[in-house]
């Protein structure tokens, strides 16, 4: 599926669906080889799922990695990042980041933790911490 990447600039038949109100039309999936869904391990990553660089991540120069993959790795290198932050900082749409992260997970470059469901979370101690933290802001 990834072997017919033709980069940007291709005029697809879908271009006629231009819709002013909806914002500019883009072809953000060119860099994912047209894949709009992550591979099985990337599943549907939550916007606040946290992405951590794997300690034993393979070399970032790995030929399988595109520039956007490397951008994401660089962003995770300093600290754990959420999916939303990666998208905002890399200036990539969320769906693209999900696909790229799916690749990185499969390659063992990063690990992604599912957010703790709030039904299990609001541990009183943590909420207290949040409230105190907000006050101190």
């Amino acid at each position: 599926m990834t072997d017919d990447i033709t980069g940007g600039g291709r005029e697809g038949p879908g271009s006629q669906w231009y819709d002013n109100e909806a914002g500019p039309l883009v072809r953000p999936y060119a860099m994912t080889g047209g894949r709009t869904r992550p591979g099985p391990t990337g599943a549907r990553l939550d916007l606040i799922a946290l992405v951590t660089l794997a300690a034993d991540a393979p070399d970032a120069d790995d030929g399988a990695l595109g520039p956007e993959h490397r951008t994401l790795i660089a962003l995770c290198a300093t600290e754990t990042q959420s999916v939303a932050e990666l998208a905002a900082d890399a200036d990539l749409p969320v769906g693209v980041v999900r696909v790229l992260l799916g690749d990185l997970v499969e390659l063992g470059c990063v690990s992604v933790s599912r957010p703790v469901p709030p039904a299990q979370l609001p541990d009183e101690r943590i909420l207290r911490e949040v409230i105190d933290g907000l006050r101190a802001l």
Partner: protein
């Protein structure tokens, strides 16, 4: 289901992320509020037009699908290392409702911004969170020129469940925005405790 926390012996070493939504009608101050309390950045999500416009065309894979960008506000508040609040300003347009479902999933709670000059604009958001049992507070953005309403009258006008917090705020003011978030976190905690008690009763 096993939570992340149980993987670690010390809860403090596990990074936690909490999601709060900021919703409300057009131009009610969502972007302003997120920007007042956090470092705001635009977040682009892209949706295939088939999804947005219901032109179902899922047969030939996705290579040719044209997408449209939907921008959301996004801000992070770092409470401490390993504990952050993430704020998402929901797109105001009705046609992007399907985005809300993803945003709402796993949210700690929501802030519904309201403008008393056009209160009805926040009905859809109120309905949405009520139906999904997502704790929310109504924050009345006190625009200059708008008549001051007291919280109880807003509560009645919106026909809210009696316990729902209504806070008057100035979305431009950081302290005011912080107060709104604090009220929400407190309320979410109370709702959660109440549900826990219900479930063991």
């Amino acid at each position: 289901m096993v939570s992340e926390k149980s993987d670690a012996t010390d809860g403090d070493t596990t990074a936690l992320a909490l999601k709060i939504l900021v919703a409300g009608g057009f131009g009610v101050g969502k972007t302003t509020l997120v920007g007042a309390v956090s470092e705001i950045r635009p977040l682009r999500t892209e949706e295939t037009l088939s999804e947005a416009g219901r032109l179902v065309d899922d047969t030939d894979g996705v290579d040719r699908k044209v997408t449209t960008t939907v921008a959301m506000d996004f801000g992070r508040i770092t409470i401490r290392s390993g504990l952050s609040l993430y704020l998402f300003g929901t797109p105001g347009q009705d046609r992007f409702w399907f985005l809300w479902d993803e945003l709402a999933q796993g949210a700690l709670g929501a802030v519904v911004l309201a403008d008393t000059r056009r209160l009805a604009d926040c009905f859809p958001a109120v309905d949405y969170f009520e139906h999904r049992h997502i704790p929310f507070v109504v924050a009345v953005n006190c625009f200059t020129g708008a008549r001051r309403h007291d919280a109880p009258s807003v509560l009645r006008a919106l026909d809210l469940d009696p316990g729902t917090p209504v806070v008057l705020c100035d979305a431009r003011d950081r302290d005011s925005g912080k107060e709104v978030l604090i009220r929400l976190v407190e309320y979410a905690g109370r709702m959660h405790t109440a549900r826990l008690l219900d479930s063991v009763r």
